[in-house]
Symmetry: C2
Subunit: 200 residues, 2 copies
Amino acid sequence: MTKFPSHLSSLIAFLRKWPGVGSKTAERYAFHLLAWEQDELLQLADLLVQMKKKIFPCHECYALMEEGDCRYCNLSMRDPRVLCIIASSKDLFALEETHAFKGLYHVLGALLSPLQSRNPHALKIDQLKSRIERLGVQEVIIALDSTLEGDATALYLKKELETLPLLKVSRIAFGLPLNSTLDFIDGGTLIKALIGRQSL
Amino acid sequence: MTKFPSHLSSLIAFLRKWPGVGSKTAERYAFHLLAWEQDELLQLADLLVQMKKKIFPCHECYALMEEGDCRYCNLSMRDPRVLCIIASSKDLFALEETHAFKGLYHVLGALLSPLQSRNPHALKIDQLKSRIERLGVQEVIIALDSTLEGDATALYLKKELETLPLLKVSRIAFGLPLNSTLDFIDGGTLIKALIGRQSL
């Protein structure tokens, strides 16, 4: 005997596939949805069904885009001399929020991860290289997570991109996040912050 | 300018209405859904649209039910002498999981809450009373949360149900949850546990 009505159980099973959602949270969401108006449920369902049709990766930079031209590949608005390599489209939106970067982006879509059997092939490095040459990029900024996977991928990218002539390769800085205190930061970050110190 | 593609923003806005979901979590869910197969999205959308048609409250006990007869109102399976009053259908499933209660249920659907302007009218007390008389219930067990709203509602129910002849009204016990230690329990619970002590 299932605990909940079977339709509710199916919905809960779907919600449990979401990141960080366990049984209790999925049940909470499902019961919450039961109290929604049918009209709202229809709208949400429609958004889900239309999603893949409305949002898709740009063929050039692989960032998510809607109909029309990719706004991040528009050379009249963006500086093609600097290319920022990021892991996912979500990172792009985080960077755009800062209004501090006006160059082009390249979304890798994945990080190297032997445990999840994602090898260099997944990064489509040849497409990246040919894009860099075609655009005449002068500097590549690697903006990947400061995780094992991010570090491994950054190292791999550096080695691969070194073979291209006259290209500067950098990685975003590690150090103290703003408004944090020394006594709460981990040792690894502190070492990185010391090594990366900047003259005042 | 919106941060995300507009379709994604709409989806995030919908997900933010869920309990305990803020912007960051809604964004995480939305990006996760982007990676789903269209087929899965269709199934999830269908579950949402069909939900209200497939699951609805029983006209007798107000518990959620599917097509057919309400399994909690089946007098050949349940004991009509005991009626358990609960706030929501979710509580019913928690109680059923224990296999410790074989009586009937009555789902209030709401608790008294002056702050959310839910007054006694919301509890439909007349329907509850007539149901108790019709079924010949001998004991009512109030199984409401141990919160301010739960306490207020329990008190109100007790006063109302006292007017019915020969009816025993009880409330589930307060005390230490199993596997907890005295030094971690709050004072209020400890007082309740002392008062409700049982002879060994």
